[in-house]
Symmetry: C2
Subunit: 231 residues, 2 copies
């Protein structure tokens, strides 16, 4: 293995808690509409609406809010009240201002890596929301570059490597999504470490058999990256 | 005047039509709710809601959609129907997929500048929406760098100059908003050309007396920049 010179981190559910905040709101959403439809139907319909809207809204909380509202109107045949929709908007606003909870060991790890490696954040989603979370996390000063992108695929990663003139072999990406943070990197000849989080959005899940064949390592907590780096 | 080496363009209402698309939807929104409240009250309330939400949503169509929905619920005391809210969501989705209409002379101007200057787009707003518009505009290949930012202030421009190692005197920004595309540039010692568009969002308006004192030029059509550049 080539020693990496640049280490990039995903943000949501890699540096800080994210998916549980969505799950919590989904539960409240299901409860709000329980007198119209079952929780299972509602969550299935919400997921389908999110995926259908992804090419128009992109990732992020605002698109999620709009998809919840659309789902609620459709599943209730327009019977949902203005007050109920107002609740959905309030939950979304709370999500956008939610305190940022760092995951275990993140700050210590960044402190130790800082100076020895160039550090980056590469995160997808809503520009304004992600910038706000980075600012509120207090971690911004550890990073040399921050890239907020609309999609994490091979093309995006290649553009980032070109932009900063980084040799692909010397680039290591760390994140919780095998689909976004691992597979595209392996495909372009870079390094990747998967650090699964206890909950993953359905859309980010990948075929386990496909994963098993690929040359990357998986760790269960962030501090284990030093075992990899010091090899 | 130092000859600029880098020319950056704002996008919305500088390269292509934008504000009229918002105005058209605002008119439809007012008409939809005319049996609840007057057009004037509604537009005033919508603007206030947008400004109130700016620090949570940032700029862009999705935030505008959510502010319309919130305004509609509040102004109708929750009486707005699901079907009416569904209409608002459809208008927003249409906005996000609206054909990109280039302004007069843009493509010819970019073609002529391309090669002689480094060209950039610096636009604020929703990452996903702006990327999509840039792709649909067919102009992407004229630009060396594209920066989608959450706010256009002195700090943002300074960061861009630092990132690309551009001397501030050699940087020229061109755009339709005196507030976002001119004033911060003059304040950091760069050059700016104002090319007003026939309609400007209330939030982007600046005090005319303040503007009059500043050292920048105003042109009425894009091709006039060659008079400035060839001086």
């Amino acid at each position: 293995m080539t020693k990496p010179s640049v280490i990039a981190f995903d943000a949501d559910d890699t540096l800080w808690v994210n998916e549980p905040i969505f799950n919590e709101v989904e539960d409240k959403f299901a409860k709000l509409l329980l007198h119209y439809t079952s929780e299972e139907t509602l969550k299935k319909k919400l997921f389908d609406t999110e995926i259908k809207n992804l090419h128009i809204f992109g990732y992020g909380v605002k698109g999620f809010m709009l998809s919840m509202i659309e789902t609620a109107i459709e599943l209730t045949n327009g019977q949902i009240t203005g007050d109920e929709i107002h609740k959905i908007i309030s939950w979304g606003k709370d999500m956008l201002q939610h305190p940022v909870h760092l995951l275990d060991g993140i700050e210590e790890t960044l402190k130790e890596l800082h100076g020895d490696y160039k550090l980056m954040i590469i995160t997808k989603g809503d520009l304004f929301d992600q910038e706000s979370k980075i600012a509120r996390s207090g971690l911004a000063d550890y990073f040399d570059h921050i890239e907020i992108v609309s999609e994490k695929d091979e093309k995006t990663y290649q553009q980032i490597l070109d932009k900063y003139n980084i040799a692909k072999e010397e680039f290591l990406m760390i994140g919780n999504s095998a689909k976004s943070d691992v597979l595209p990197l392996i495909n372009i000849g870079s390094q990747a470490i998967h650090i699964p989080y206890h909950t993953t959005w359905e859309h980010e899940k990948v075929d386990e058999a496909q994963k098993a064949k690929l040359p990357y390592i998986e760790i269960s907590e962030i501090k284990q990256i030093f075992n990899y780096l010091n090899k």
